[in-house]
């Protein structure tokens, strides 16, 4: 048996995983990254529009700070997030953006003086301050009070991923490319690493590590049409489910992005609307102001997507051979702006649609985009049920997005989580818990089991067809576990997915190879994907309320009284379905008590403690203390941060109180 020992095994080579590895390496430990693909090809590369960080440099960002970013994030989550984590995130985001600048990201910068922008369909002149010249600028994004989204044209994820990958290379961190973790090695209480398959040779290796970090991204590919890369099949979530002890959180919380092109499902950035683009219907009519008069096209993503679907249900969609769609109109921005700030969008339109977005409308439709749910961890990114198992980025539910993520908060989360979880993993490795003796017998048993299973799958001569099962799973998820959900459809979905899971174990294989063989890969991933799909569907069925992106037509109210909680899912060995339980969110500890997001008609069943907590908060705010003091009284969080990251963020309008030591 081939065994590799390392301090920290990072499963996933995207932004979150690589940034985590850098933090661990800088603490004097040896991290090792596993990646399905060359690390620079990870899905982080597809983030287009930008990263939220409250730098407050540009004129429309003036007055921005952590408080505003925190409140936008909590409102965006429909109060489903962990407010401590959202606070830590808002505090860290400016540091992360500045670290990216220091490492090489060529953020777009503020240019002093007048410039013209499009706001609400009108051309407006903004005047930037002299003092801000050359600092990182920001654009508008949905659901935010300030222009806070830092960007490099519309290739932000690319610029960030290349910068972080280059640092990984500079710091000599090994990346094993084209490998896949098949199982976590654990004894029911302690995670000890993973059994890993080489996707080229088919060889299995046991990687033994003090800490194992799941940073595998989302599970969008269980839907038929998704903006996600093809590798986002939820294998990280499946690895955790198959431990039988560690749990996933809020798997039913899934975001549908308003503007993916039809039919390819490729994303065009929210930056299109942030920069002034409009949504129009079959008549060329701008419909969003009728539904959301205040935020219009820049309401939160869950809201815009639902409004678009609602409008299409009224017969206002544009008919096409691929189903109805709506139009995204960025012609109003002009060719010069598109050539400079929306160049990927222009490329996508040109290559996949054969249109010029400076002249033509873009056909768009809400499409699966982001997984708010994932591996449930505490604020340190560690699983409470399996010591030594960590997770970060989109793969994790630590949980800063609750039931809806704001645009620009995902790439921001990847690097922030990497900065924090890297420190916590290092702390863990250097603590008594991290110091521990591995069981090679356990590793061998785990490896032998995986090898036997692969051989059995490869020899499979059953009657079932993997492609047909997969397409059916995708259709069930799209039809019944999509933007609008209801009890009877979800019941049927759970039943059918269960049937597909049983059938997926009786596949007929046409080839034999155990090495680079895509048929084998599909065959062993399929039951895992179905387990993830079932966890999503069952969570959606049981959550009889509407919150953020989870919308139940039969339970349209947000029900804080009964459902202000987080879904936890565990799949016990031998069970046909996951076991769900719920973790309450405590209103009395919230800095921002549950309220109305301001979209549509208020439809909330209040939690019994909300009024009391709101009164406490109002009283504290009336005291007119410094904002940091108020914050600290309401919900103290800095003690949870690694010491090196506790400092305040300097801004043009907020110089640091004490000059830093020379």
């Amino acid at each position: 048996m081939k065994i590799v020992y390392t301090d920290a095994l990072i499963i996933g080579g995207g932004l979150a995983g690589q940034r985590t590895a850098i933090g661990i390496k800088r603490r004097g430990l040896e991290p090792l990254i596993l990646s399905l693909v060359p690390a620079k090809r990870s899905h982080s590369v597809a983030a287009q529009g930008g990263m939220q960080a409250s730098l407050g440099n540009c004129v429309k960002g003036e007055g921005d700070n952590e408080d505003v970013h925190f409140e936008d994030t909590v409102r965006g989550s429909d109060w489903g997030c962990d407010q401590i984590v959202a606070r830590m995130f808002a505090h860290m985001a400016p540091k992360a953006a500045r670290e990216m600048a220091a490492w090489g990201v060529a953020w777009n910068r503020v240019r002093r003086g007048d410039h013209e922008v499009v706001i609400n369909g009108q051309r407006v002149t903004l005047t930037e301050r002299d003092a801000a010249h050359g600092l990182i600028t920001a654009r508008d994004f949905g659901g935010t009070k300030k222009w806070r989204t830092c960007y490099t044209s519309d290739g932000t994820g690319h610029a960030m991923l290349y910068t972080v990958s280059d640092r990984v290379i500079a710091e000599s961190i090994p990346v094993r490319e084209r490998v896949e973790a098949l199982a976590l090695i654990h004894d029911g209480g302690r995670c000890q690493g993973a059994v890993v398959r080489d996707l080229v040779t088919g060889e299995l290796t046991a990687y033994l590590a003090r800490a194992t970090v799941i940073a595998t991204g989302g599970y969008g590919r269980i839907w038929g049409v998704s903006t996600n890369a093809l590798i986002n099949e939820g294998m990280g979530a499946a690895l955790v489910l198959e431990t039988g002890v560690a749990r996933l959180g809020n798997m039913e919380a899934v975001q549908f992005h308003p503007t993916a092109i039809v039919p390819a499902g490729i994303l065009v950035t929210e930056g299109c609307r942030g920069d002034g683009g409009l949504l129009k219907d079959a008549d060329g009519y701008r419909f969003m102001p009728d539904y959301e008069p205040e935020k219009k096209e820049l309401a939160s993503r869950d809201v815009v997507s639902r409004r678009m679907a609602e409008h299409m249900r009224k017969g206002k969609g544009v008919a096409s051979p691929y189903g109805d769609h709506l139009w995204l109109d960025i012609t109003v921005l002009g060719a010069a702006h598109i050539d400079k700030n929306l160049r990927e969008v222009k490329d996508i339109c040109q290559y996949f649609l054969g249109i010029d977005p400076a002249k033509d409308y873009i056909p768009v439709r809400p499409t699966q985009h982001y997984s708010m749910g994932g591996v449930r961890t505490n604020f340190q990114g560690q699983s409470p049920w399996l010591q030594g198992l960590f997770s970060c980025g989109e793969a994790a539910c630590w949980d800063m997005h609750g039931f809806n993520r704001l645009g620009g908060n995902s790439v921001a989360e990847t690097v922030v989580a990497g900065m924090l979880v890297g420190e916590y993993v290092a702390d863990f490795c250097q603590s008594a818990e991290g110091d521990f003796s591995f069981s090679t017998a356990l590793a061998r048993a785990c490896l032998d089991r995986e090898q036997a299973e692969l051989s059995a799958i490869a020899a499979g001569r059953g009657s079932e067809d993997a492609v047909a099962i997969r397409r059916r799973m995708e259709a069930v998820m799209t039809d019944s576990v999509g933007l609008f959900r209801n009890g009877p459809a979800l019941e049927t979905a759970v039943a059918e997915l269960s049937d597909l899971l049983a059938r997926s174990r009786r596949l007929g294989m046409r080839g034999h190879g155990l090495d680079a063989n895509p048929e084998l890969v599909q065959a062993y991933r399929l039951p895992r994907m179905l387990k993830v799909a079932l966890t999503v569907a069952l969570g959606a069925l049981k959550r009889t309320e509407s919150r953020g992106a989870h919308f139940r037509e039969d339970f349209p109210a947000r029900n804080d009284r009964d459902w202000l909680n987080r879904t936890l899912a565990c799949w016990r060995e031998g069970d046909a379905l996951p076991t769900l339980d719920y973790e309450p969110l405590d209103v009395m500890f919230m800095e921002l008590p549950p309220g109305f997001r301001g979209y549509g008609v208020k439809n909330i069943i209040d939690h019994p403690h909300t009024a009391q907590r709101q009164a406490d908060v109002d009283e504290m705010r009336a005291a007119e203390l410094d904002r940091h003091a108020v914050q600290s009284h309401l919900m103290s969080f800095k003690q949870y941060l690694p010491e090196r990251y506790r400092g305040r963020n300097e801004r043009l309008d907020e110089p640091l109180p004490i000059p830093p030591a020379p």
Binding site: P38, A39, K40, R41, S42, H43, V45, A46, L55, K95, A96, A97, R98, E99, A101, A102, G104, A106, N108, R109, L135, T137, G155, H158, A159, Y162, T163, D166, R167, I169, A170, V175, E177, R178, V200, A229, L230, I231, P263, A264, I266, L267, P321, K340, D347, I348, Y351, F352, M509, R510, G511, A516, N517, P518, Q522, R648, E650, R651, L652, L656
Partner: protein, 240 residues
């Protein structure tokens, strides 16, 4: 009028000594808006479940799917079959280790190139992340990003005459990286430092100026101009 497409696809498993490199022919009915991603996925799903190829983003941004399409390197995911004749030949990108069929190991090549050229931002001391970031001229940031848009797909290496003759040639991808960091005011390296890594025949002086790299670059990077400027600077560095 819908066409029937004929695909001639390179097939070979280099780990199987019994498997000689060969091509296999497939037929597929063309559908509206069909890309080579859609076509190859259908071929695998419907006709040949063992066919190896690489797609990740399928949106033209990750650089995974470069292959030789009717004799020309390009990104398969964003190539519409409507823009090709009914006879389509697909071969793996030359210049890289073959994994199988249309899949090659660009990742390994690119990491080795980055390590050799030290292709990352070099600074003397890292900034304190609590403090305001150092300002940069907006035009400079835009110019750096322009060169930073490379997706390491390998098309430029596959289209390069020198790379055919010299396996150690860093290719346009490598020289563009040097140009990118050289342009970046945050990078502390001088031309003398850059000369150390590209000032020979495996670097800037190996380029024969055939400029196939620029012809096939899917991101339309200004490789010709960058190579020319870099060569002039490196000559100056080498002479003085």
């Amino acid at each position: 009028m819908s066409r029937t497409l004929t695909f001639t696809v390179f097939r070979h498993n280099p780990r199987n000594p019994a498997d000689a490199p060969h091509t296999r022919t497939y037929h597929l009915d063309e559908t509206p808006g069909m890309t080579l991603f859609i076509a190859l996925t259908r071929l695998r799903d419907e006709q040949d479940p063992g066919l190896n190829f690489d797609f990740v983003c399928r949106a033209g941004v990750c650089g995974s799917c470069a292959m030789v399409i009717n004799g020309r390197p390009g990104l398969a995911c964003r190539t519409l079959t409507a823009n090709l004749p009914a006879e389509i030949s697909l071969f793996p990108l030359p210049g890289f280790e073959l994994i199988g069929d249309l899949s090659v190991n660009t990742g390994k090549w690119m990491r080795a190139m980055s390590e050799r050229l030290r292709a990352w931002l070099h600074v003397n001391a890292e900034a304190d992340v609590n403090l305001m970031e150092a300002p940069m001229e907006p035009e400079t940031a835009e110019a750096v990003y322009e060169l930073d848009r490379c997706i390491e797909c390998g098309c430029c290496v596959a289209g390069c005459g020198t790379a055919r003759m010299r396996p150690d040639f860093v290719g346009a991808v490598g020289m563009n990286k040097i140009a990118r960091f050289r342009l970046d005011p945050r990078d502390v390296r001088s031309d003398a430092d850059f000369y150390e890594v590209v000032g020979d025949d495996s670097g800037i002086f190996g380029c024969m100026s055939l400029l196939g790299c620029q012809d096939v670059c899917p991101k339309q990077l200004p490789l010709q101009t960058q190579i020319a400027y870099l060569r002039r600077s490196m000559v100056r560095q080498g002479v003085w």
